[in-house]
């Protein structure tokens, strides 16, 4: 065993996965843990499907193997399904309850599963649905979705919520800290409902 706690974050370029990954990495520094990460950079981000690997206590390579992620954070439901095979048995998936339909679907008339079908196909997993769009709006900015998701996921990972919030404070611009603190807390409350057995939003 490598002994690391492996988190895969997936979504669409522009949703703030790089900042989310930095928050987790910084939280590991706060706790004095080793950490490895890998993410999609460059043009591949332009509205495309992106992934961020975080290995808390990781000491070797940054990539998580399919079937071994202890947790997934999906910023988009369709991307959650696309990468669901990375989750280890018993792992949690915290997933935004919205999905963006790929432009290729409209252009080429490709088939796209409806939200209900995506949910059904994710059915066997331990799922925590979070309405990140609504909670981010409630916090004060749609850009705080990534912090909402981290708040919700904070129940299912080894880093303490204080460390995660401390990491947010180190990384976001000062003037947005109040919004981000609220986003984290709203996300954390949503995650707590999942922890108590419901599927969330």
């Amino acid at each position: 065993m490598s002994g690391s706690f492996d988190i895969l974050m997936v979504g669409i370029g522009g949703q703030g996965i790089i900042l989310a990954s930095n928050i987790l990495g910084e939280a590991c520094l706060i706790e004095g843990r080793s950490v490895r990460g890998a993410e999609t950079h460059g043009m591949a981000q332009r509205g495309g499907s992106v992934e961020g690997h975080i290995r808390i206590d990781g000491k070797f390579g940054p990539l998580i193997a399919p079937g071994t992620a202890h947790m997934m954070i999906a910023f988009d439901m369709l991307e959650g399904l696309r990468y669901a095979h990375f989750l280890a048995p018993g792992g949690h998936m915290v997933v935004n309850s919205h999905m963006v339909i790929p432009t290729s679907v409209f252009m080429q008339g490709a088939a796209v599963p409806a939200e209900e079908e995506v949910l059904e196909r994710l059915g066997g997993l331990s799922l925590c649905l979070v309405d990140a769009d609504a909670l981010a709006a409630e916090a004060g900015s749609p850009l705080s979705q990534n912090v909402v998701m981290i708040g919700a996921a904070s129940w299912f990972m080894p880093c303490a919520p204080e460390s995660l919030l401390g990491a947010v404070e180190r990384l976001v611009p000062k003037k947005t800290m109040e919004i981000n603190r609220k986003a984290f807390e709203l996300g954390r409350a949503a995650g707590e409902r999942c922890r108590e057995g419901s599927r969330g939003a």
Binding site: G25, G37, G48, G61, A65
Partner: protein, 589 residues
């Protein structure tokens, strides 16, 4: 020393500052670009940093600085080293005074590249040392120490991280930046700096005489190291070494190669203590070839017997499976886990409001059976719009176009190239096309920035890497100076003018250049441009689907009709496409 969570390229930049580096050049290319982006964005800086026009230019500038005694860094992606190969080969002969480090970032799996070439081959070819980090900490330490290595042997050093180093992150111990701000001084020495045959023959001998000393030093400095634990061994290099270490059983010997050239005597001593050796590395079998040369009767597994793939990138899972296939059970096995099927792909796409999209749209309308050579940049995504027929390397749109034209092809040939790529290596191709009388149209997609790699400025932007204003080059004047008589500049958001210019160019002889000028939609937004969104009047929309086919990510289909989402940047091109007049400026309610 402090511990920081750093991107590989950030760690490399910090390592260079600790060295300290005095002079930095490069051309952007994924996955290398962030190193200079970090150095040029430092709040205080006493080192020289430039984005050069191309990699050859960058390396020659850095070489000159190293000849003047400065520590110089030159960054590029692997294919950039092809462009810089000419100065590389002979700089190995001349050597350097200050340390010269050439960072050439390789891209196994071609995440964002046109090939999977291996920069270590250039190191062997040119006979310069090459450092190949396996972790981010190592990348930092190697970048810091590479300059001194270069000075010790008076030779350029290639530093070769791969995508999974450059764009990975890890907790990294970093030190404080050194004191830079050193002034260079050139000392004349024609025997070293003027490579006429009489001089170069001597320099070649000196280069060869350095080799055994370099090989020994790379072992002594701990870049290449080994531990013997049993009759079976795994030898690995680069990030593959990190993958191997994660699953290496306790009774298997391990050798890590972090630098080249490899000391063959040292390697032979290790290999011959084993019955079986597996070599795990990405891309070219550089280490494997060395192992096979010294192996004698020892069984060697690797790429050449089909155990390790020649192409693509490795991972811990891939390495575990290779070990199992070679009869070296890994310490961890991984489950088989198949992805969900039948999902629509989500490839990267030109942004909403990207000024390239209307150009491709108009080209397809005006030249229904046209041939569309293109180039390297965001606009290569025009492939999805049916307007990119060829891409090979930087600057090759115009040359492939003229080659097709001279081949006797009678259809219209319309090439596309970005401003930065045109200035990189497009100009000689244009000059050649005019000189030799090709009949082609070249559209320069001029968004005033090197967008794909992260919005680095270039000579058309009007600022240097460090933000100092500089006169923006006139693309029109360059084209005219090349002998082009038809040079027209057009706003790509104006579809009517775009169509008119393309049609006019089609009727003219020779080489025609159309400059489609509009700032990149991302830089425009960052600069505060707000055009206001557009919206579809659902009652007027006839669901004809023309705007959907335009392919803008801001236009969705909702209940068969068009709907404009909040990605809209207000370029207004769809308004000109809609035959029903259903699209208009958003009305706030």
């Amino acid at each position: 020393m402090t511990k920081q969570y750093l991107l590989g390229n950030e760690a490399i930049a910090k390592g260079c500052l600790e060295s300290p580096v005095h002079f930095v050049t490069g051309y952007p290319g994924t996955p290398s670009s962030e190193v200079i982006d970090i150095l040029r964005s430092l709040p205080e800086r006493d080192l020289y940093v430039e984005w050069s026009v191309n990699e050859k230019v960058a390396l020659e500038n850095a070489l000159a600085a190293a000849w003047c005694g400065l520590r110089a860094l030159c960054t590029m992606k692997h294919v950039g080293l092809n462009v810089a190969a000419d100065p590389l080969m002979t700089s190995a002969y001349t050597g350097v005074t200050g340390g010269l480090v050439i960072m050439s970032a390789d891209d196994p799996f071609a995440h964002s590249s046109q090939n999977e070439q291996d920069s270590r081959c250039y190191a062997l070819f040119s006979r310069v040392p090459c450092l190949d980090p396996s972790t981010i900490q190592e990348a930092h330490d190697m970048a810091r120490d590479a300059f001194a290595l270069s000075e010790q042997f008076s030779i350029p050093v290639i530093f070769r991280p791969t995508t999974r180093i450059c764009h990975s992150k890890g907790d990294t111990l970093v030190g404080s930046p050194g004191t830079s701000g050193k002034k260079g001084e050139f000392h004349k020495n024609p025997q070293q700096y003027v490579v006429i045959p009489a001089h170069t023959r001597v320099l070649h001998r000196i280069l060869n005489q350095k080799q055994p000393h370099i090989k020994k030093a790379l072992v002594e400095k701990g870049y290449n190291k080994a531990v013997v634990r049993g009759p079976v061994a795994v030898v690995a290099s680069g990030i593959a070494a990190a993958y191997v270490q994660e699953v290496l059983p306790a009774n298997v010997s391990f050798m890590k190669i972090g630098a080249y050239p490899i000391d063959e005597e040292w390697l032979a001593e290790f290999v011959r203590q084993h019955e079986k050796v597996l070599v795990v590395e990405e891309l070219h079998p550089v280490v494997e070839e060395a192992v096979r040369q010294v192996a004698g009767c020892v069984a060697v597994h690797g790429k050449k017997d089909g155990m390790v793939p020649f192409e693509g990138e490795l991972s811990t899972v891939a390495v575990a499976r290779i070990m199992l296939a070679c009869g070296i059970p890994p310490s961890r096995v991984f489950p088989d886990s198949a992805p969900a099927g039948n999902l629509p792909p989500r490839p990267p796409i030109l942004c909403a409001g990207c000024p390239h999209r209307p150009v491709f749209f108009a080209m397809r309308k005006v030249f229904r059976d046209g041939i569309f050579p293109s180039d390297i940049g965001c606009y290569t995504l025009g492939l999805q719009l049916g307007a990119v027929d060829t891409t090979i390397c930087m600057g090759a749109s115009v040359t492939i176009a003229s080659g097709i034209a001279h081949s006797g092809e009678e259809r219209d040939i319309v090439a596309t190239i970005g401003d930065s790529t045109f200035l990189h290596t497009g100009i000689p191709g244009l000059l050649n096309a005019v000189y030799n009388g090709a009949r082609i149209i070249l559209v320069i997609l001029d968004n005033r920035i090197t967008a794909m790699t992260g919005h680095q400025p270039n000579p058309s932007t009007g600022v240097t890497a460090c933000g100092v204003p500089t006169p923006p080059v006139s693309l029109e004047a360059i084209c005219r100076a090349c002998g082009v008589t038809y040079v027209e500049t057009v706003d790509p958001y104006d579809l009517v003018s775009l169509h008119a210019v393309l049609k006019e160019a089609r009727e003219r002889p020779g080489v025609k250049v159309i400059i489609a000028r509009q700032p990149c939609v991302i830089t425009a937004r960052r600069a505060g441009v707000r055009r206001g969104r557009f919206q579809v009047d659902a009652d007027t929309c006839t669901a004809c689907g023309l705007c959907i086919k335009f392919g803008c990510p801001a236009i969705e289909k909702v209940n068969e009709k068009a709907f404009i989402n909040d990605q809209c940047s207000g370029c207004g091109v769809c308004v000109q496409i809609c035959p029903a007049g259903a699209i208009g400026k958003e009305v706030k309610r």
